[in-house]
Amino acid sequence: MRLSVAAAISHGRVYRRLGLGPRSRLDLLRNLVTALVRHERIETPWARADEMRGYAERLIDYAKRGDKDERAMRMADFWLTEKDLIHKLFKVLAPRFQPHPGSYTRLLQIPNRDGLDRAKMAVIELKGNPLPPLVRPRRDSDKTLLNQLLKGYRQDAQRAAAPRGTPV
């Protein structure tokens, strides 16, 4: 039941409004998707990156169908404004992501923009890109309590297995 009908109240509205209107929002997202496919890593406001992520992943799902598929080609034709990227999408990105079932992009927040607006910025990149990695996966240090206990358990298991394996 709509309890708050007033125009200025937006409780519970989940859809973002970007740009100058729905058409402008789609154009904005289209430009961002084109840039992502071309450069494989872009830095943009977090809301735009978050919005664009779903569209980019669905485009790659369409590309995985193959370029003979009519719908896939029409989607790629609409979403990629620079037509040499259609070749890149079907010949480079589709084979790269063929083994993955989903989540082809990585969205990370970066410090707020330096300008007057201090906007919340994010960097969105396609996984498996040739550029330097943004975040290095860190293993926990060996000196933590849990890791020391696990190390001791592994050594005990080995000592228990070895004498049985090589009876004296």
Binding site: R38, H39, R41, E43, E82, K83, D84, L85, H87, K88, K91, V92, R96, L108, Q109, I110, P111, V123, P130, L131, P132, P133, L134, V135, R136, R138
Partner: protein
């Protein structure tokens, strides 16, 4: 009735008489319309005597603007410094302290837990910019995206068998420690 009897008299006297009658009628029926010249209706008596009207009604007019200021809210007592301190230092008015700041393990600068380290990101951004300049030099013309994967090789590195058929981008420097070759 009187009007019907006097219909035969000449017109000016008739008009004056009608006006006087109409005026008396209006004053009788709508006493307030003429600006309070007639007294408001008092209690009616069976015997017509002088109307006993309480005199206080004429004085009870709407207060003028200056007098209506008397009824606005104003503080009665000075707020003591203790009360002021309680209000100003209430936790809801203090600035919230952030507990999500930690030290980046790579460079030692401060970072927020859910945000990338600014220094490390600037480092990666600079290296990406230089790699992209090499790419643009190789592509020469715009809209020349290649149809093969790309691999970045630094000084003294040879392409491995995994890099078969990939476009090679050369960077004229030693490989940085944080860019691990796959």
């Amino acid at each position: 009735m009187a009007v019907l009897v006097l219909m035969r008299s000449p017109l000016p006297r008739l008009r004056a008489l009608l006006q006087r009658c109409w005026g008396r009628l209006e004053r009788g029926l709508w006493p307030g319309v003429f600006g309070g010249q007639s007294p408001p209706w008092g209690p009616a008596l069976a015997v017509q005597g002088p109307a006993l009207v309480p005199q206080g009604i004429n004085d009870a007019e709407a207060p003028s603007l200056l007098e209506s200021l008397v009824w606005m809210a104003a503080p009665k007592q000075r707020r003591t410094i203790e009360v002021n301190r309680c209000r100003r230092r209430n936790p809801s008015k203090l600035i919230e302290i952030k507990r999500n700041i930690e030290v980046c393990p790579e460079c030692g600068n401060l970072k927020q837990k859910h945000v990338l380290c600014g220094y490390c990101y600037a480092k990666v951004k600079e290296e990406t910019r230089l790699i992209r300049m090499e790419i643009y030099k190789k592509e020469a013309a715009p809209f020349n995206a290649p149809t093969v994967e790309t691999v970045v090789l630094y000084e003294g590195e040879k392409p491995t068998e995994k890099d078969e058929g990939k476009r090679i981008i050369e960077r004229a420097r030693k490989r940085p420690s944080w860019f691990v070759q796959n």
